[in-house]
Amino acid sequence: MSTAGLTPPRWAEVLLERLLPDDARETVAGDLREEFVEGVLPQRGLVGARLWYVRQVLSFVPWFAKEGSGMSKILLVVSMFTLACGCWLAVMEMVLRHPGFGERIGVALAIALICAATILARMLHVGFRGERWLWAGAAVLIALGGQAFLHNARSAHFEGFVFVISLVLVLQGVLMLATLGRADSGSRRSLDAANSLQ
């Protein structure tokens, strides 16, 4: 059977390679490609096989998340949390359409955008020391979190979720400055070490 065009989704392969450390990137991607072509594709067809592949790629997210320093792990979890919160808030504002909803949607989407960029930066293992956007993004998060915290604390109706999200935003801003300021190779073991076992 010709396998031309019968390949895993390109974006999923790229994502997998980003999720994996240097020394596992080639071998794991090769194993999954081999299983895709020889094992899953003949049984499930192209759509089923591609869905299988995406599921396998997503199964590497926990492995990816535990890599790096303690602070960068926390940053990743916090960024995912605030990304979900930002998207959720934007959707709720669009549905409820209370006065001033446009401005709040803008704020929620800005938070989501900063979080997505942070996660992407972590996945790409790049550092951003000196980059203006990093400082701007962190400053926006700290300012928004601080403002929401103070507003909530002074309000007659204290809301728990605003309290949590505001603290998380400040924490994320601080962690961004602390961890994204330096490059993270993401490498766990060197290939040389593995080869020396031969």
Partner: protein, 106 residues
């Protein structure tokens, strides 16, 4: 006695042992699925292999890839002496736990 192995770790180690010289990621994944009779996430198998290697229970080596893999290398695993010991310890502990237990297993 070393820490006892979990069910999944035992399954991965036993698969590495059973596959012998053909134990690489894909074959181990398929073997574990066949043994446990359920679909297993690849990420779980690779994360377990990495953990077992870090504990010295398996060793690995790289070999050249094939065309179907796009030329990507294969990492072959082998059960280390420490891995055999851990499997033995776990088996003995399980046997001791179940000794004289009259529970009807369904």
């Amino acid at each position: 006695m070393a820490d006892l192995l979990g069910t999944f770790e035992q399954s991965v180690l036993l698969s590495v042992f059973a596959l012998g010289t053909d134990a690489y990621g894909r074959s181990i994944l398929n073997r574990v699925q066949a043994t446990l009779q359920r679909e297993v996430a690849a990420g779980a198998v690779y994360a377990t292999l990495e953990r077992l290697e870090a504990r010295g229970l398996v060793s690995s080596r790289l070999e050249a890839g094939t065309a179907v893999r796009g030329g990507r290398a294969r990492r072959y695993y082998a059960l280390a002496a420490e891995g055999q010991r851990a499997l033995g310890d776990t088996r003995r502990a399980l046997t001791a736990m179940w000794k004289n237990v009259q529970l009807e297993v369904r």
